[in-house]
Structure formats: C-alpha cells, structure tokens
C-alpha cells in the first residue's frame, strides 16, 4: 500500500469515529456558496482572521504582562524595549484591535445594505450583534491594561456609566471596581476578563458560522439560491478570494503597525496612570466614538446612558423594523439613499465624539444622534411599507447586475475613511502651531543619526538630567548611540547608584553597571516637586510619545520661550512659552547659545541644541524604530508579492465562473 493510501485509511478510521474531517469538508470545502458574492463578503472571513491574530498576539503579551497597578505600565514598556520582538507583538495587538473593528463595522454595514438580517437570517444577525457587544467589552478592558492615563480615566468614566442606574447604581459601580475607585482589584479582574472573553467570542463565532451554514449566505442580489447552477463550492473559489483579501488587508495593517503604530491611539496613554489628575480630553478609542457622541448628546445622565445602549440594542429589532420583502438595497432606490445617509451620520457621530463637548459640536451631536434613531425607527419602517422596489432578477445564475454598484460603494467608503483619517489630527491641533521640522527618522526608511543622538544625550546629561529622570532607559541601551561596550561600562561607572541591602542589611553605594537605569535626580516625586516649586518635572523616557505633536512639540516647546506679552499675567514662578498649553510653564528656559560644547564641533545655538536633544528623546521613546522600519519594508514587499500571486491564482481559479 502506498503512503497516501495508508494515510487516507487512518483518516477514514478517525472520521468514522469522530467526523472531524467530514465536518471540515462540509463547512469549509464543499459549502455551497452563491457564485455572485462581491468583495464586501470578504470582511466576514477577515474578522475571523483578526480574531485569531488578536488571540495569538494577546497570548504572547499575556506571558510578559503584569496586572498590578505598580507594575503594569512598566511591564508594557519592558515588552516594548526588552522582550525580543515585544514591540512587534504589542503593536500588532494594539493596532489589531482597530483593524478588527474596521472589518467588523464594514461587515455589519454590508449586512445592513444587503438586508442580511431579514428572514431566515435573523438569528445569524443577532448572534453577530452579540459578538459586537462582546468585542466592545473586550476592547474596553484591554485598553485599561497598559495602565496609562487614558486607561485609568477611560475605565473610570465607562464604569461610572452604571452609576446612572437608579437606586443601586453606586453599589453596582463599587462592585465593578472592587473598591472605591478604579484600582488594583479593577485592573486584576479586567485582565482576567480580557483574557477570557476572546474565547467566549470564539465560541459565539462558531455559532455564527453554524447558523450561517444552516441558512446559507446572502448575496448581493438578495434573492434565494434556486439550484446548483447558482452556487459554487467554497473551496477553491472563496478560499482563494479570501486569501487575496487577507493579503490586501495585511498590507494596510502593516502600514499602521510598522510606520504609524500610535496614530490611532492617544499620547496620554504613555503617561503612567495618576488618580489625582485627569487628562484635559477624555476620548475613547475611535471605534466607540459614535456611541460616545450619542451619550453626550443627551443632557441627562440616565437618559444618555440609555440612549447609548439603545443605539446598539435597537439593531436587534431590525428584522421587524425593516419588513420589506426585498433584501438587497440594490433594488430599493430610496433605501439606498437612506442607507448612505445613515453611513454618513455614523461618521458624523464619530467625528463629533472626538471633539470637545462645546458649541457647535453639541448641536451637531444632537442632530446626528436623533437622525440615527430616526433612520432606524422611522425611515426604515416607512420605506419598507411605501417604497416601490425595482423588479428582482430571476436567478443568481442570470446576472443582470453590473458590478458598478459595489465598486461605487467602495469608493464612497474610501473617501469617507480618507476624510476621517486626515481630519483626525485636526482634532488634536489646538493652541499655537508647532514648528514642524524634518527629522531623520521620518519616512519609510527613516533612521536615527547616531552623532545627533550622542549630542542630544550630552545635552540631556549636562542640562536636563538635573531635574528630569529617564527611568526607562538603561546604560546598556546607549550602545545604540554608537558607544562601544567598554565605553558604556565607563559611562555607567561614572555614576553612583544605591544598591542593597548587603549581608548586614545596609544599603550601599556602588558604581553603576550597564544593566542599571539612568539614575534619577531626585529620590522620589515629592522631593522632585519640592525642589521645583511644586511642579513635577516629567520623566523624559516617553515624553515624545506622550505629547500630541511628538518631536515637533518638544522642539517647539524648547524653542518657544518668548518675552511675556504686556497683556498676559503670569503666576509667580512661571515662564511664558508660546507652545505650552496655557502658556505658563514652570520650567525656566534652559538652553542658551553656546552653553554646550560638542566634541564633534557641531553648532550649539539654541535651535541646534533643541533639535539634538529632541532627537535623543525620540530615540529614548522609540528605540525600536529603526528595526521597525527595516522589518516593515521587508514585510510589505513580501506581502505585495504574495498578494499579487494570490490575485493571479484567484483569476485563474475564477476563470471558469466568469
């Protein structure tokens, strides 16, 4: 007997006892799929793919993460700086959450347009909404784990939603917290739930797919499958199409991960959580913004919370709200218009959710919120009663439909995304405009300039380090500035650190080792504040990532000191700075022309010195940047090749159908 023959026999033996292989064959290979699915149908499998990516990356992060309020932030920074490829895994996970929501939202809107919630697919739709709710809970709790400022205050604000519940509200919130504020018990339980829920989602996804395979896929025409001439087996037709889709998607995902990993996040989350200070703008992650806008649109606490939850729950009633017998929006001229207005409305809500709750944004938020419900509760029922639909085609096998519709939809959506993506930074841009510089690390191939980093380090050592700590940078890291191992040792040994206790229980002083952190100028925050007129000089390790505008902000601030204008009053001990929020900064101007002498003879005027030290701080915040860019280039090139290959294969496979 040949080897494959023997293998088949063994598989057959297993299958007769546990029909795993038959199940796979039945649901992923033979599954009869309408032959006319367009690319909007790719997003279901993309969502499934993202779930797997999130579980895998999450699993490896969980092996390095510490869920304790004193250690969580540091453990995440350790993942970013010390764990092999830790930055890659974390950025994949962090941006993966956004990507997961992008594909899921598109998947949902596809269902809305093509009437995928209508009989017999109601249960399929409801299960999908349950997945969405679980995803939201999981994402929210995951955002708490890094224990930055946004983590803490996001958790505080969201858990406080439950305090709107009459009578028992406060008791519920205390129960959620396990204390009297969001604290260590909260972090612990959120970590446990954040770990557990994805597996619950996985289970519900199985139900979702099971229900799908029972009622079968909807299709762009929205008409029922009439016979075998209308369907093709899932494999190879849709497996190859889905793989091509995953290739395209991965390229987008990688652009964020490797070049704009923090674009979708908030700089405030790179500031360790501080229960005493709330950041000026509390904004949830972008995927919650439309719901956040609805919450804020209602001027009553309880009603706001109800409206927000209702915005999702009302979707469960869609099968009844829209009772039109015609599923696909393609044959409903007015529904089509209403659908796109609804999409725009959701984008408007999202945009408003990101803006401060003042002035025109309040009005716009209210209009958009009302329209959200008007569309679902009024327009849809009316349309389904009075709209004159176009005649449906006889069958899927007789395509009467040009593919223009779907393509136009894609264009419209792309434009909307582009608008939002470019409008997003405007949300942040307040106050004086920053002096944008061209930095060596920008661009696809951007790298650091070692000589500049060394000069910047010298500035830090001679000027900044008198007040500012850099606790997340170790002497050993300075090898990246071009120092030899020996030079790093000498450098470290020129500092003294406290160690111990020794065998007698005493603390002792010793020369620093390369494995030590940069020593802090003050023993603790209180001492630092006492020595600086009550203002805490922030730790500089992450300052570039923790400020909107990044390096441009730091540079502009350092060069932004100006004589106090006559009409401005400054509190005592403050200095006038054009860039600092509120213009009154506690730090006196520190850089002066020629105060520093660089061994390489580089210019040492204020501008040059500010630029050098900013470069050094950028490196301190993102030491992985060069590796990230290099890996990104290789990965994206590979993905382009692989995706092109998939596309060629897809065309070849589909040649028989078209």
């Amino acid at each position: 007997m040949t080897a494959p023959g023997r293998l088949n026999k063994a598989l057959d033996w297993v299958d007769r006892r546990l029909p795993l292989i038959s199940l796979m064959k039945h649901s992923a290979i033979d599954y009869p799929t309408p032959k006319n699915l367009n690319y909007w149908w790719n997003f279901g499998s993309l969502a499934g793919f993202m779930l797997v990516v999130m579980i895998v990356t999450g699993l490896f992060l969980a092996m390095q993460y510490t869920p304790h309020v004193d250690m969580a932030f540091d453990s995440v920074e350790r993942i970013m700086r010390d764990v092999n490829y830790g930055w890659l895994i974390r950025y994949l996970h962090m941006n993966g959450a956004s990507m997961f929501f992008v594909v899921t939202y598109i998947h949902i809107f596809r269902g809305l347009y093509y009437g995928s919630y209508k009989p017999p697919r109601e249960l399929l739709w409801w299960i999908g909404l349950v997945i969405l709710l679980l995803m939201m809970a999981t994402a929210f709790m995951g955002y708490v784990l890094p224990w930055g400022q946004m983590s803490l205050w996001g958790a505080t604000v969201i858990t406080n939603l439950f305090s709107a519940v009459p009578v028992v509200g406060d008791a519920i919130v205390t129960l959620l917290w396990g204390g009297f504020s969001v604290d260590n018990p909260t972090l612990n339980r959120f970590f446990v739930l954040h770990f557990l829920l994805p597996f619950v989602i996985l289970g519900v996804v199985v139900l979702h797919v099971w229900a799908l395979h029972t009622v079968k896929s909807n299709n762009p025409l929205g008409i029922d499958v009439k016979g075998p001439q209308d369907v093709i087996p899932f494999h190879p037709y849709y497996t190859v199409k889905d793989l091509f889709g995953i290739g395209v998607f991965l390229i987008v995902y990688c652009l964020f991960t490797f070049w704009y990993p923090n674009y979708l996040g908030h700089p405030d989350n790179y500031i360790p959580a501080n229960p005493m200070v709330t950041p000026p703008h509390i904004v949830p992650e972008w995927y919650f913004l439309p719901f956040y806008a609805i919450l804020r649109a209602v001027p009553d606490k309880l009603m706001g919370v109800i409206a927000m939850f209702a915005a999702i729950l009302v979707l469960f009633a869609l099968p009844w709200l829209d009772s039109s017998k015609v599923r696909s929006g393609t044959f409903r001229p007015w529904f089509k218009v209403a659908f796109w207005l609804f999409v725009v409305d959701c984008f408007v809500l999202g945009y408003v959710g990101a803006m401060p709750a003042e002035g025109v944004w309040i009005v716009l938020g209210r209009i958009a919120s009302v329209y959200y419900f008007v569309h679902l509760l009024l327009i849809l029922p009316l349309l389904s009663r009075y709209e004159k639909t176009r005649p449906l085609p006889e069958s899927i096998g007789l395509p009467v439909l040009s593919r223009e519709g779907a393509a136009k939809g894609a264009q419209a959506l792309a434009v909307l995304f582009a608008v939002v993506l470019f409008a997003a930074p405007a949300v942040a841009a307040e106050g004086a405009p920053l002096r944008k510089q061209s930095w060596s690390w920008q661009g696809i191939f951007g790298t650091y300039d070692e000589a500049q980093l060394r000069r910047g380090y010298q500035v830090y050592r001679e000027v900044c380090s008198a007040c500012h700590a850099m606790k997340r940078v170790h002497f050993r890291n300075t090898e990246a500035l071009g120092f030899t191992e020996e030079a790093v040792k000498e450098l470290a040994a020129s500092y003294t650190v406290t160690d111990g206790p020794d065998d007698n229980g005493d603390m002792f002083e010793r020369p620093a080792l390369p494995s030590d952190r940069f020593p802090s100028p003050f023993p603790n925050d209180q001492a630092a504040m006492a020595a600086n007129g009550g203002a805490l000089p922030p730790d500089l390790s992450l300052i570039v990532k923790a400020r909107m505008g990044g390096p441009d902000y730091v540079f502009s601030l350092l060069t932004g000191y100006a004589p106090q204008p006559a009409d401005v009053e400054l509190p005592p001990g403050k200095f006038y700075n054009t860039v600092f929020p509120g213009h009154a900064i506690s730090m006196p101007p520190q850089l002066t022309d020629g105060a520093i002498e660089f061994p390489d003879g580089a210019p040492a005027n204020v501008e040059a010195v500010a630029r050098d030290v900013t470069a050094f701080l950028q490196w301190a915040a993102e030491p992985e940047l060069e590796e990230r860019h290099a890996m990104g280039v290789k990965t994206v090139l590979f993905l382009f090749a692989a995706t092109a290959l998939m596309y060629a294969l897809k065309r070849r496979v589909w040649a028989a159908v078209h």
Binding site: M63, D82, Y85, G86, L243, A642, L645, R652
Partner: protein, 179 residues
C-alpha cells in the same frame, strides 16, 4: 487536438500558480512564527543581568557562600588543603562522569559551581555548617539522595553528571566575575 492543448495550458498554469502561492504562503507563515517563539527567550533585561561579580576576600578557608546568578544558586567554596587533597586523590577514570579535579577549578582553593543537582534540579545541602555533606564530604542532595565529593563530582545516587562549573574569570586575586 487543438482542443486538448487549450485545455491543457491553463491547467498547468494554475498548478504552477497554486504551487507558488502555497510555497510563498508557507514561507510567510513560517517566518511570522519566529518573532513569537523568540519572544519567549530571555529578554534584553534578563540577558543584561547575566553576570555577577563576587568579592572572595571575606570567605575563610573551609567556608562557602552561595550567590545568585541567572536565578540559580552558585556555590563558591574556599577549600581547605585536606579537601583539595581528597579531591585529587580520586582516580578520575573510575568516576561516573570522569573529570580530574584540576579540570574543574582555576585556582585549587576556589571551587565555583552551579548549585543545582544534575538529577532533577534540587539544591544540594552542604554549604552551611551542620548540613549533611554526603558520604564523600562534599554535598548531598536530599531530593533523591545524590552524593557529591569535595570537587562537586557525582559519586553515588541517581544524578548522571558532576555539578556544572559556570564560566567565570578572576578579575583580581580576590574578585571573580561569573557569566
């Protein structure tokens, strides 16, 4: 005939594409696995702490200290002349893990070993005065009864090998660096 050719060409093309796509996909997946596996290896901070310097001056002859290196105990023993003598007296070829005493030390009076039993990883006794030292005057592992001699070599019991000697160097007469 021409019919046959027309059928044949796309099929070959498809097979080639299929093989190429599978190969590229498999390579991509395999490469993508590596960062995840490597993330489980010791991180940079762990690697950076993998040397430790020890001052030997306070250790009198006949005394031993235990220091922590890479999370494991390292035994440092200032051996007496008798201990050195008895370690040298053994015929290395007769041992389970044949090794002469001078192959295990850099300076005869200083024995430096990882204090982890080569059986299943317990820490043998014998460092402190009053500890059981086993039948050969060195160390005794209480977990399953392994006896080590004054050179840390396995003499009796289930352990397969001598206590490991780590990489170390004398920085001065009284200072060593382990790792």
């Amino acid at each position: 005939m021409s019919d046959h050719v027309m059928n044949e060409t796309p099929k070959t093309r498809r097979d080639f594409l299929f093989a190429a796509a599978t190969a590229v996909g498999a390579v991509g997946a395999a490469v993508a696995v590596w960062p995840f596996v490597d993330s489980l290896n010791p991180a940079a901070d762990t690697r950076a702490l993998s040397t430790v310097e020890v001052d030997l001056a306070p250790i009198a002859a006949g005394q031993a200290i235990t220091v922590k290196w890479r999370g494991k105990p390292v035994f440092i023993r200032h051996r007496t002349p008798q201990e050195i003598e008895s370690a040298r007296a053994v015929n290395a070829a007769d041992l389970r893990d044949p090794q002469a005493d001078d192959a295990r030390v850099q300076k005869a009076e200083w024995l430096v070993m990882v204090g982890v039993c080569t059986h299943l990883g317990c820490v043998p006794l014998g460092q402190k005065a009053g500890d059981p030292v086993g039948d050969f005057g060195g160390w005794f592992c209480p977990c399953h009864g392994s006896h080590y001699d004054t050179s840390g070599r396995i003499r009796k019991g289930p352990a397969p090998a001598n206590l490991a000697v780590p990489d170390y160097a004398f920085l001065s007469d009284t200072q060593i660096r382990i790792g």
